[in-house]
């Protein structure tokens, strides 16, 4: 974990509620896709945890949905403004167990971390299949970005306004070696129930600190109590207590 100040380089809408923010700063603490950063905002007591979409030596890309006062405040920020971030939080995804044909499943704001993961897996020579689930056409984003990486992308919308009608689980392929999923809990539960292989699922919870100090985001797993911010947010399918 590192605390440092980043400078906003870009803050643009992808959909009505979803924003893409590119930040310049010290990304050295980020070690795996699926980790998150925790952002201090002026006038807010708690930091805002946001999953890492993508990063390189200098820049960090976050995609966030405007859901409350904090994210609305982020949306109003402009290039040049600065943000205090804790980086390198959480365990992130384990790429070593992906196999040759991993499947990535992202639902809504669970899509962004899949991007950095897809990039890393492609770099490692994997054939990456991606399912992106949204409610409706207007909410879709990043299909082209995943395609540009070289992924095979399927989009699902609940109302059928774009891509396959239905949920991500309605578009599961026949063959995949391992799955990675991030999205709302009902989606994760459905994925957990519908998948045959091993897999990793990323969880959300209201957090106090984001770095393991407060026990605010604990959960029970089959392998003991875990802090979503520290031993998570990524859990292995086998340890989830559903």
């Amino acid at each position: 974990m590192k605390q440092s100040v980043f400078t906003i380089q870009e803050n643009t809408p992808l959909t009505r509620d979803v924003m893409k923010m590119v930040l310049l700063g010290d990304t050295s603490a980020i070690t795996a896709p699926g980790q998150f950063v925790n952002i201090r905002l002026a006038g807010r007591f708690l930091r805002r945890p946001i999953s890492v979409c993508d990063w390189d030596g200098k820049t960090l890309t976050l995609i966030y949905k405007v859901v409350g006062h904090g994210t609305a405040q982020m949306k109003a920020m402009v290039p040049g403004e600065k943000l205090d971030l804790l980086t390198g939080l959480g365990n992130g995804y384990d790429l070593s167990v992906a196999g040759d044909h991993p499947l990535l499943i992202g639902g809504g704001v669970g899509v962004p971390p899949m991007y950095g993961l897809a990039k890393a897996l492609i770099q490692a020579g994997k054939a990456v299949q991606v399912i992106l689930g949204f409610n409706t056409w207007e909410e879709c984003f990043y299909e082209e970005a995943f395609q540009a990486l070289g992924c095979a992308v399927t989009v699902t919308t609940v109302d059928g306004s774009y891509g396959t009608k239905g949920f991500v689980t309605d578009a599961l392929p026949e063959h995949y070696t391992h799955f990675y999923a991030c999205g709302p809990e009902p989606m994760l539960k459905a994925v957990h129930a519908s998948t045959a292989t091993s897999g990793q699922l990323s969880f959300e919870e209201r957090m106090g600190c984001g770095f393991g100090a407060c026990m605010g985001c604990s959960c029970k797993t089959l392998t003991g109590y875990k802090r979503i911010c520290k031993e998570g947010p990524v859990m292995r399918k086998e340890e989830i207590a559903w």
Binding site: R206, A213, C214, M215, C217, S218, Y225
Partner: protein
């Protein structure tokens, strides 16, 4: 050179800055971030007789200038704390540590304190009779002078280490409870624990926190903490550890002027993991700004306004 040393119940601290229980784990997470030996000491995660998962999630709610937590004393139980956590703590922290203890009965408190009394690194036992997040215990001991006195006596009977009783602010008359603890033999008092608070998620029409209410902390509660520290320090002879909304070196000085011998930093650790290190570094500069030579000399050192 300014002097930041203070003496708490016979043990000298390099400075009065103490991360509060429940915001600093058993120290080793923070030791990855900085050398925690710069601290006066720290109070480790509240420990109970048996292991506890604590309350269901969500356990956290944001507030203006503060937060609510309803962790509910999650901890691995005193046996595992002694077996696994304290050895890890010892590797990264080389000063006496404050052991924070909670319980659901007087026997619980006595058992856990007796176990921790055997641990060499434990300098003080901080007996938490004020946790608002557990039913049938915790805070109920902290809202009655009789019960507070009984817990204190039971703990004093099983330990020779200094006992600091941590008091609840959710009371009409904190002075009566402080005095009951002093009379029962407490070596010190720490205050305040969290205020009982609640937030509602108006979109979902339910409490933000699964447990409905929780403990409210952060800079928002600082004025209440200063007031209670002042009232208690005026009324007792034993040292007071000031807690509640402290996040700067100036806050530490204000708490000490109110009557605190040492000062705990709680919620601020969660939003700024380096805050205690920064306070320790800033303290000598702040002392110079306010013309304070010796920090121990300012404890309770205020002059009231003349009555007009």
């Amino acid at each position: 050179m300014v002097n930041t040393k203070v003496t708490l119940c016979g043990i000298q601290l390099d400075n009065p800055v103490i991360p509060a229980s429940g915001t600093f784990g058993y120290g080793y997470e923070f030791a990855e971030l900085y050398d925690i030996n710069c601290l006066g000491t720290f109070s480790f995660k509240g420990t109970t007789k048996d292991p506890r998962f604590g309350n269901p999630t969500p356990r956290i709610a944001e507030c203006p200038a503060g937060m609510i937590n309803a962790v509910g004393l999650q901890n691995p139980g005193v046996d595992q704390v002694i077996r696994e956590e304290l050895p890890k703590l010892k590797k990264v922290f080389h000063k006496p540590v404050m052991a924070n203890v909670s319980g659901f009965s007087i026997e619980d408190y006595a058992y856990t304190c007796a176990r921790l009394d055997q641990e060499e690194q434990v300098g003080w036992l901080e007996v938490n009779i004020s946790c608002p997040n557990v039913h049938g215990g915790g805070m109920s001991f902290g809202t009655s002078p009789q019960a507070a006195g009984e817990v204190t006596r039971a703990v004093k009977a099983v330990t020779t280490k200094p006992v600091i009783v941590k008091l609840s602010p959710n009371v009409t008359d904190i002075v009566s409870i402080a005095k009951a603890c002093e009379e029962a033999g407490a070596d010190g008092l720490s205050l305040i624990n969290t205020l009982l608070g609640m937030r509602i998620d108006i979109a979902r029409r339910r409490p933000v926190i699964a447990n409905t209410m929780g403990g409210f902390s952060g800079s928002a509660i600082f004025p209440v903490a200063v007031r209670m520290v002042y009232q208690v320090a005026q009324a007792v002879k034993i040292p007071v550890v000031g807690i509640g909304g402290v996040s700067t070196a100036e806050d530490v000085i204000e708490m000490m002027m109110a009557g605190a011998t040492a000062v705990q930093v709680g919620a601020a650790n969660l939003t700024d993991p380096f805050v205690c290190r920064d306070i320790v570094e800033e303290l000598p500069r702040a002392m110079a700004r306010y013309k304070i030579q010796d920090l121990s000399q300012i404890i309770g050192g205020i002059q009231l306004w003349e009555k007009t």
